[in-house]
Amino acid sequence: MSLIADPSSFGVTTTLEGQSTVLALRGKVENLAAFELSALLDSAIDRHPESVILDMSELEFVGAAGMVAISNAEKRLADMGAALTVRSPSILVNRLLAMMESAQEARLERALPGHGHLGPEDRSAVSVSPPRFASSLETSDLRRVTALPADPDVVDGALRLLVELARSCVSGADGVSVSLLRHGRLSTVAASDQTIMAMDADQYATGEGPCVDASLKGHWFHADSLDTETRWPSFTPRARGLGIKAILSSPLKAFEQPVGALNIYSRTAESFEIKDQETAAVFARKASVILSDARAGVSDSQMALRYKEALQSRKVITLATGIIMEREGMDEDDAFTALLRLSLYHGETLRGRAESTLLSARTPELPMEGSDA
């Protein structure tokens, strides 16, 4: 253990810019730091500034409690006719703020999403494509250039926030958890309390329950009354024993593959209305985007396969562009546009059209009679 202070520990510098108070945040806002941030925001607001600016350029992480502190400060300032401005947030913080906004919309208006309406529960057989083959392609170099790093801290922080938001936004929710497949096993990465942890653990142990089904099958499962539920015979009585009467599990997906579930538990039967189901679905979709970015649940060999196909596609398109350049005497950009035009004209994918172009180039011209060319 180093005795040097952790460089990522939380710190704040307060300065004045005209009538605005600027709080420059550093490091990570977690646990106790959230209380500190909350107190600092309160004392800044007590001075009645025209605005409070949160400079997040050196902020590494904000946990759920920190987000709540920021949200509360925003409300207090709004009541005073002042504004809270966020300066230079990182991509992660932006994403969390966006989630926060959508949660508040849900809280204020119970806004229903314009798309993604929940259909009837789908119990049809699921086709799971088997892993085709393990590829030898190294993913580590490619992973370095992908859009966002897979940071388990970031993912867990986002999921804890999700649990907190879902519990406050879904009426009838007495407990919320997130199950995630990691290394081929389901585990609870965030839960609102110990009873909920136990409920999830029970489902993993028996291999049955809505959370297991949603995580593995990728559909949502709604048990609106455990008193009449028949689908999970060994799990249901134990859940009733813990006082649970209704469960709503929404699937979490990364790259369209099921990787976990958002589980909402209620002590009251029939407590989840359609609007609650839709709110849960909105949260599940948000979490799925975060999980996709973090490549959650995607094994190295699946990722390698994906990259291998991406590289193959690039190669084919580059070669086809070259062929068109040569044939038509075009520069590279014009040749690419020409290829794009052909793909749209033929209603093919760009890769499909590029493959046809390659095939046409490979067809040997028949040698002319008497010609020695």
Partner: protein, 83 residues
């Protein structure tokens, strides 16, 4: 010349249900050369992509809309339709 909203590509990305990482992979697949961070800046209008880059992003989105059973809503900058 039309002046679209700065984050018009990002709005399409969200409608297409693609994460930024997934869109980047699709863009890379079609020959895109920019990094994930540059792509993010294009999506939000903080950097202006070249016409070629713009059309690769537009096509990656349009192919996704096709997969979802839709048409090609994202406009191209290059002359891709017969005039």
């Amino acid at each position: 010349m039309h002046e679209p909203a700065l984050d018009v590509l990002n709005v399409y990305r969200q409608e297409a249900g693609l994460s930024q990482g997934e869109l980047w992979l699709r863009y890379f697949e079609l020959g895109g050369m920019s990094t994930g961070f540059e792509l993010e800046a294009y999506l939000f209008g903080m950097l202006t992509p070249t016409a070629r880059d713009h059309d690769v992003i537009a096509h990656a989105l349009n192919e996704r809309f096709s997969e979802l059973g839709g048409d090609h809503p994202v406009a191209y900058l290059g002359e891709v339709h017969d005039t």
